[in-house]
């Protein structure tokens, strides 16, 4: 028996060392290849790793020896802390390889800020209601064959904001003169109005996002609620059936939760078509899995005293759940659900990017048209809604938990 254990320990030690050296030499090879274009057959890495393993096993100074062969002492005391240096080596190598793979480039970070100038100016000067002519709409007007002097005048009031149509037209009249204005009035107004419609579109897209998040949460509640009881360790009997039900539900919930909502959105936008419905389904699947976990953990944390007391009155299992479990979990469940809605509103924006509808889709479109001032407006709207949701949900949760 003891000898068998020794053999096992030895195999574990060798395997650990071998994996360690394959990793180290693999990383080194990657760096050499990247920097000098050096190439070699992959078997060389294996051979080198094998050699290193044998050498370090012989001098008994490796990580595998430290971990699994506690009885084996290094031949010299200097080698006692060798395993520590090996771990340090692996950390350094990992860090350097990481820098290379991620293409970390501090030079770009500090010198190329002007590339983001468009979006930065959009954020600091978002298009809002009222009348204004953006650079884009002036460009469009130029294509509509307006005379160059009119275009030049219009460029002079580019991005200037007018609160009403009257103020806008008055200013144009001053700059262009009555007759020129009358000639091009409808064309200019059309371009200007196009721009002002964005807020309305944005608000309705925002409503779409909030409601799809809400529906995703609401539809997720009944599924998560029922499932959570079967995923709670303290409620499931410790029979084989109870264990299987518990394990299956927990495993599926974990798998579904580890697949990001954005991936679900890709799947559902193919399934039911691009739009808010796809986004809702994506968030719902993710919410069911997440809420099942949160709910069942809450059930596992309940005070077992009342459960015992209700059971002792002769109540059936279902009655015990209804009278002793549910009253204890209602308010934390509500708190988690509101929190989930809050998360879903934030995720709905991202989900919109891949076909989930709502403000995310609008943001993507405006970004692809390079309309940075519109993008700026959308970003502010999203930030505002997320901020409000966050604050409200925090307040409500505080109240619910504090009952």
């Amino acid at each position: 028996m003891k000898k068998k254990n020794r053999t096992l320990e030895f195999i574990q030690a060798i395997a650990t060392d071998l994996l360690f050296w394959i990793y180290i030499f693999g990383c080194l090879y990657y760096l050499m290849h990247k920097w000098t274009g050096f190439t070699a057959k992959l078997t060389f890495i294996g051979i080198a790793a094998l050699l290193a393993t044998i050498i370090f096993q012989l001098i008994r100074g490796s990580i595998g020896v430290k971990l699994f062969l506690s009885s084996g002492k290094p031949k010299r005391s200097v080698l006692k802390s060798l395993w520590g240096y090996l771990i340090l080596l692996s950390l350094v190598v990992t860090f350097v390889v990481g820098l290379n793979i991620v293409e970390v480039d501090f030079y770009k970070f500090f010198t190329k800020f002007q590339n983001a100038g468009g979006i930065a100016s959009g954020i600091f000067d978002p298009s809002v209601t009222g009348y204004s002519l953006s650079a884009e709409s002036i460009n469009e007007l130029e294509k509509d064959d307006l005379p160059p002097d009119v275009i030049n005048t219009l460029k002079g009031i580019q991005n200037r904001k007018y609160s009403t149509r009257k103020v806008f037209l008055n200013d144009l009249q001053k700059r262009l003169g009555e007759s020129t204005l009358q000639e091009y009035k409808s064309t200019i107004l059309k371009s200007a109005e196009k721009n002002t419609k964005l807020l309305n579109i944005a608000l309705s897209a925002l409503a779409e996002t909030i409601f799809l998040a809400l529906l995703a949460t609401v539809f997720a509640i009944p599924f998560a609620f029922v499932l959570s009881f079967f995923a709670a360790r303290n409620l499931m009997p410790r029979t084989w059936l109870g264990n299987i039900v518990y394990l299956v539900i927990r495993t599926i919930a974990t798998i579904f939760r580890s697949i990001e909502a954005i991936v679900w959105a890709i799947i559902f936008s193919v399934w039911v078509g691009i739009g808010p419905f796809a986004g809702m389904l994506a968030l719902m699947v993710h919410s069911v899995a997440a809420l099942t976990k949160l709910y069942s953990e809450q059930i596992e944390n309940i005070d077992t005293g009342p459960v015992e007391a209700i059971k002792a009155t002769g109540a059936s299992t279902l009655q015990t759940w209804i009278y002793a479990v549910i009253p204890q979990i209602v308010s934390p469940f509500l708190a988690f659900t509101i929190y989930r809605w809050d998360i879903n509103v934030r995720m709905a924006t991202i989900v919109g990017f891949v076909g989930g509808g709502g403000i995310g889709l609008l943001l993507l479109q405006q970004q692809q048209l390079l309309r940075w001032h519109n993008v700026g407006l959308l970003i502010w709207l999203i930030a505002f809604v997320v901020w409000v949701m966050d604050m409200v949900s925090a307040r409500v949760r505080e109240k619910l938990i504090g009952i």
């Binding site: 015992e308 002792a312 009155t313 002769g314 109540a315 279902l318 209602v330």
Partner: protein, 255 residues
């Protein structure tokens, strides 16, 4: 007087290997107010919970009111349980439900699943629950949430909940251990009243000998899962007390 409880060679070995009950034999007559004494960990709670199978005994026989508790399953077990009221040290009320709802939950063993799912209790049951609250002097707190009641009041609600079951027996597991002495005495007084007026047999574990002498008609002491004393409260002298609680113990008087 006939026996209402009969335990034969009752053993309980927990999963970790703790041998909590080592062959307990006990007969309790109808109408007795039996006090269980013993150190924490001597097996009092285990004994009480084995008797209504909140904890599964390892071996032995349990007979309550001429029913074999050990072989009972499902519906029959629940029928046995509904005649056994139980009172706990931590009261074990649903803290965010009203006192009245807590009392009504004592009736769960009697009502159909449908009525309990819809939380719709029979009018008659509500009237009984109110009169039970009145018995423990809490009718004006019926609508209050349990968490807003004091410890003594919560324990009285728990007594009313047990009464709701129409119990033949009440098991009380250290019912006054988390209460101050004055409140403890009032809770014990309510139990004593039920014992005398309703002829409910009571098994109550306690730590205070003074309360045992005042309310108990019989004292059974457990030590390491064995019964080491069985007699009247008056028979416990200093030597007996030290046998139960160990040589270093001093009796603490609460008055």
């Amino acid at each position: 007087m006939k026996n209402i409880i009969k335990l034969t060679d009752l053993h309980k070995i927990y999963e970790g290997g703790t041998h909590a009950l080592k062959g307990v034999n006990l007969e309790v007559k109808e109408g007795e107010f039996l006090i269980l004494l013993g150190l924490s960990g001597s097996g009092k709670s285990t004994l009480l919970r084995c008797m209504n199978r909140l904890i599964e005994p390892t071996s032995g026989e349990i007979e309550i009111d001429e029913e074999n508790v050990i072989t009972a399953k499902g519906k029959r077990l629940r029928k046995i349980r509904r005649h056994i009221g139980m009172i706990f040290q931590q009261f074990n009320l649903l803290k965010n439900l009203s006192a009245l709802t807590n009392v009504l939950s004592g009736k769960l063993g009697y009502v159909s699943l449908w009525h309990s799912v819809t939380f719709s209790m029979h009018k008659n049951d509500v009237a009984i629950a109110m009169s039970n609250l009145q018995r423990v002097g809490l009718e004006q707190f019926a609508k209050n949430k349990a968490r807003n009641l004091s410890g003594g009041q919560q324990q009285r609600v728990a007594i009313a909940r047990a009464l709701m079951q129409n119990p033949r027996v009440i098991f009380a597991d250290e019912p006054v251990a988390s209460l101050d002495p004055a409140t403890a005495d009032s809770v014990m007084r309510y139990l004593g009243e039920l014992n005398k007026n309703d002829n409910i047999t009571i098994l109550c574990s306690l730590h205070f000998l003074s309360l045992a002498r005042k309310y108990g008609t019989r004292v059974v002491a457990l030590k390491d899962g064995n019964i080491v004393f069985d007699g009247t409260p008056k028979e416990i002298d200093e030597q007996k007390f030290k046998d139960i609680y160990g040589e270093d113990a001093e009796e603490v008087e609460i008055r």
